[in-house]
């Protein structure tokens, strides 16, 4: 009798495991298949894509082709230029953010000065402001500053980000105050304490800020859309890609368009796989800390 129940529970365990894996694999396919199809399609010929939109291999009669990728560097589709712009903008903005946000975050977390509380409360308030609401006045301010259609216009407004200040303040706050006191007694200046003691300790926070910013800026579409309306030379990858279908007539060269999406995705995928742990912590942290 005991043997029978043991077997039954074994069976139910196996059934559970099979069902569990089946569900996991089903969802994995759901989330990953579009990317696989995209990669395959970008190496297929156009008639092949037309006839076999779901096939994950090229029709043997038509074969594989690099036409898709070749189509990305023409007179009105200038992917190398867009990628270069995206690279310049992302690097500059991220460096600027890390610098500004860690300075401000450190001061808000570990210094006492007049207006500090009001300042932090305003940062939290600005955090909630949706970017789309600021579209028109941002354009107006950039116009007034004379930075529309320039790299400065693409870069400068993105450098100031309330979320980064908030994030860095949270990280610095977790560091023990004893470290500060020890540094002060050892005669370190505030700047030395900040650069030599606190920044190295806040490394996980800096990495989280860096990768979240890389992702946010690299993928950002709305800001370039209003910052460089009159200068296609300054388009970033998302902006160039968003208008790519208009660059072609009725016949859409999907191998080229999809190859463009892959190239826009590769750098972010590399960052993601290299720093996955920090991505996960960053998102999870936003959830549990509220």
């Amino acid at each position: 009798m005991a043997v029978v129940t043991a077997k039954a529970s074994d069976l139910s365990q196996i059934a559970k495991r099979v069902a569990g894996y089946a569900a996991l694999i089903f969802f994995a396919l759901l989330f990953i298949m579009p990317f696989i199809l995209t990669i395959v399609t970008s190496f297929k010929t156009l008639p092949d894509i037309q006839q076999n939109p779901v096939q994950l291999w090229a029709d043997p009669d038509m074969g594989w082709t690099l036409d898709g990728i070749r189509g990305l560097d023409t007179s009105n589709v200038r992917l190398p230029r867009w990628a270069f712009n995206s690279f310049v903008v992302t690097t500059t903005v991220v460096i600027g953010r890390v610098f500004l946000d860690s300075l401000a975050g450190f001061a808000l977390a570990k210094m006492k000065f007049r207006g500090q509380q009001v300042m932090f409360a305003s940062v939290v308030m600005l955090l909630a402001v949706p970017g789309v609401v600021l579209l028109i006045p941002k354009f107006l301010i950039m116009k007034q500053l004379g930075i529309l259609n320039s790299y400065t216009g693409l870069i400068l407004p993105l450098m100031f980000d309330a979320f980064g200040i908030f994030l860095m303040k949270q990280f610095f706050e977790q560091l023990p105050n004893e470290m500060l006191e020890a540094a002060a007694i050892d005669g370190a200046s505030t700047w030395q304490t900040f650069t030599k003691v606190m920044l190295p300790l806040a490394r996980p926070g800096l990495i989280a800020l860096t990768i979240l910013s890389i992702q946010g800026v690299w993928n950002d579409f709305m800001h370039p859309l209003i910052a460089v309306p009159g200068n296609p030379d300054l388009a970033t990858l998302p902006l160039g890609l968003a208008n790519i279908r208009a660059a072609f007539g009725n016949a859409q060269p999907w191998n080229t368009i999809l190859a463009g999406t892959i190239i826009a995705t590769i750098p972010i995928a590399i960052v993601f796989f290299a720093f996955q742990r920090y991505f996960v912590q960053g998102v999870a942290g936003s959830g549990t800390k509220g």
Binding site: A104, A107, K110, P137, T190, N219, P238
Partner: protein, 356 residues
């Protein structure tokens, strides 16, 4: 050197005790000045590019400004822009009503589905008897980190009438992206209601008949909803996973010992304990879905027949493509109110439910 440090030890501790009354974490007495120096660069930028713009939006929303000339040269029109959006019959009111309707159905579709789907996936992924968690987690999260524009292009490719989705589905080819028919109208049509009943046609609100209000999302909007759900579910799943890991395994074990089935454990143990996280994910979803823009722009630019315009898209369209920046600013303020409502709801829920 080492000796000097150890010799410093006790003295330091003594010093610590003596300064205990000083504010915690304070560095030097010069903090007042340095604090401002450290925060000034970031703060000045935030004021110029975030704080002032909010006030400017409000100011411009009271003016008849086309977006080209200096707004100082535009005339003050009081509440006219708001009046035209909300009360005065005309194309502006109807279009604004359309954008609210479209976005409303979008929210009502996306938020519950992404919440339930991500919670279910997180719970499955959190089962101890399953291996390969990090692989699956990566697979599910990957769409969330990619560019919204890139993902939209991939979905446009798949949703073409000769595309992958139609090839896989067992129906006649559906014209997903250019189909303006409302989903609720379509369902009613199956039951033979393909014309507006008299009462639904005659009752009007903000220039749209009741029949139009209850159209549901258009087929094109429905495709966008699927695309967005597909991209955001991974993020929500990560948040749920973090929440699930804070539930002590002994709680679930106790429920198992008491004879609770898997479903009962989910319904009566996990869901109640996850309530704060669920609230958080729902409000996060509400705030995000009311701002949908990128996907709208790249899919069909608001079409077909304005069935995918949303307030966020309409702000852009009116100001940058239609020279109605004053009107667009009023839309922005109204959208701001909607989103702030959910943001405050989130803060209240978070503090009252004690999410820490």
């Amino acid at each position: 050197m080492v000796k000097a440090k150890t010799a410093n030890g006790p003295r330091r501790r003594g010093g610590h005790r003596a300064t205990k009354l000083a504010p915690r974490g304070s560095l030097h007495s010069g903090d007042n000045f340095l604090g401002l120096v450290f925060t000034a660069p970031a703060m000045i930028g935030l004021v110029i590019f975030v704080a002032i713009p909010i006030l400017l939006t409000l100011w411009v929303s009271f003016r008849d400004w086309n977006g080209f000339v200096s707004p100082f040269d535009s005339s003050y029109v009081g509440l006219d822009n708001y009046n035209e959006l909300l009360f005065k019959p005309g194309i502006r009111q109807t279009d604004f009503a359309r954008s609210i309707r479209n976005n409303f159905y979008y929210v009502v579709g996306v938020v519950p589905i992404q919440t339930v789907l991500s919670l279910v996936i997180a719970v499955i992924l959190n089962q101890k008897f399953l291996k390969g968690k990090s692989f699956f987690r990566t697979a599910y999260y990957f769409p969330s980190i990619t560019s919204s524009i890139a993902v939209t292009l991939i979905f446009i490719f798949m949703f073409q009438s000769q595309g992958a989705i139609n090839a896989v589905l067992p129906f006649d080819n559906i014209n997903w992206l250019n189909n303006a028919n409302g989903m609720i109208h379509n369902v009613l049509g199956v039951f033979g209601v393909d014309q507006a009943p008299g009462w639904a046609k005659s009752v009007e609100f903000m220039g749209l008949s009741l029949w139009e209000w209850m159209a549901g999302p258009s087929v094109a909007m429905f495709a966008i909803m699927m695309l967005v759900t597909w991209t955001t579910t991974g993020t929500m799943m990560l948040i749920f996973l973090a929440g699930l890991q804070s539930i002590s395994p002994s709680v679930e074990e106790a429920a198992t010992v008491d004879g609770a089935s898997s479903f009962q454990r989910f319904r009566y143990v996990i869901v109640p304990m996850m309530r704060p996280t669920i609230y958080f994910v729902v409000t996060l979803g509400l705030i995000g879905t009311w701002q949908v823009f990128d996907q709208i722009y790249a899919t069909n630019f608001g079409g077909p027949r304005k069935t995918t315009i949303t307030p966020a898209f309409w702000i852009y369209f009116q100001s940058f493509r239609n020279s109605e920046a004053g009107l667009a600013a009023a839309i922005a303020i109204l959208l701001f109110v909607i989103i702030m409502f959910f943001a405050f709801l989130q803060r209240r829920v978070n503090t009252s439910k004690g999410v820490t």
